[in-house]
Symmetry: C2
Subunit: 155 residues, 2 copies
Amino acid sequence: MLGEKGNSKSSEMQKKMGDFVAKCRQNGLKITPQRMAVYRALLESKEHPSAEMIFRTVKEVFPSVSLDTVNRTLLTLDEIGVAFIVEGSGDSKRYDANLGDHQHFKCVKCKRIVDFHHKPFDNIKVPKSIGENFIVLRKTVYIEGICDLCAKKQN
Amino acid sequence: MLGEKGNSKSSEMQKKMGDFVAKCRQNGLKITPQRMAVYRALLESKEHPSAEMIFRTVKEVFPSVSLDTVNRTLLTLDEIGVAFIVEGSGDSKRYDANLGDHQHFKCVKCKRIVDFHHKPFDNIKVPKSIGENFIVLRKTVYIEGICDLCAKKQN
DNA sequence: CTCTGTGCAAACACTTTGCAGCTAA
DNA sequence: TTAGCTGCAAAGTGTTTGCACAGAG
């Protein structure tokens, strides 16, 4: 762990941490050791960790850190744009009985999910790296943004 | 509502309900009015409803239905493959600090999320219908399936 | 008649919120 | 010094589970 400090990956890490500090300052956020540790843990993980996973990692360095802090910090990271939520919106499950080809647009404001069907998206080819090793059950193009209704309500 | 029974949409609905009954029989599931009502409500909704939304709809016809039944039924629909979950895996939030272009493969068994980067997916074009009306913040190709590790564990 | 499905209530998991003391700037 | 941050505990939200009765096959 400590031995990794000098390698090439580390300098990249240093840069990212530096950028993060700058981004925090830009947003009027204080540079706390917990914040740094959470961000570092997220950067170092290749597994798209949950708050719980980050919590466990950070705890090794900061035994006194609380899960709440990790949760709050992660939400903050999302807000200032240095990280984002890739799964588990936190909202309730949403179902679809339309088995035909179609894609989804989701409004990040009102959570509305709008179907659309763009033929070129129906047969996207799975790259070899995935197709050869994994069993593909479903593939789709997923678009996130702000819908017309929410955009109108100013903002 | 009742007036819609005779139109062209209705015959399509009839067919789908019939297919559903067949699918239930195939899977040894009983044909209960609640089950039918939940499936019908899901078919009729264009909004990718949550269990709560379906619950409210079904309640109009079946005031005595419980939310649990709706939840259980929806999970069953997913299992027998007549519907699926489009959002809100139910699992906890997952974060990503990698802002560069990349895509995700998610294993439906172990929930592992694997990154991959397939250049052609970096610049997928948003169809006009979406681009003209909505503000696009993020677009990605999302693949679901079973990962190598889970596939090995037989099944 | 039998066994699955339903409704109710309790249990859960994860997240969010309120507050007092702490700490970076 | 003083905002903002943290840790703790409590409250919320959505989902799952256990059980007895009801109803489909």
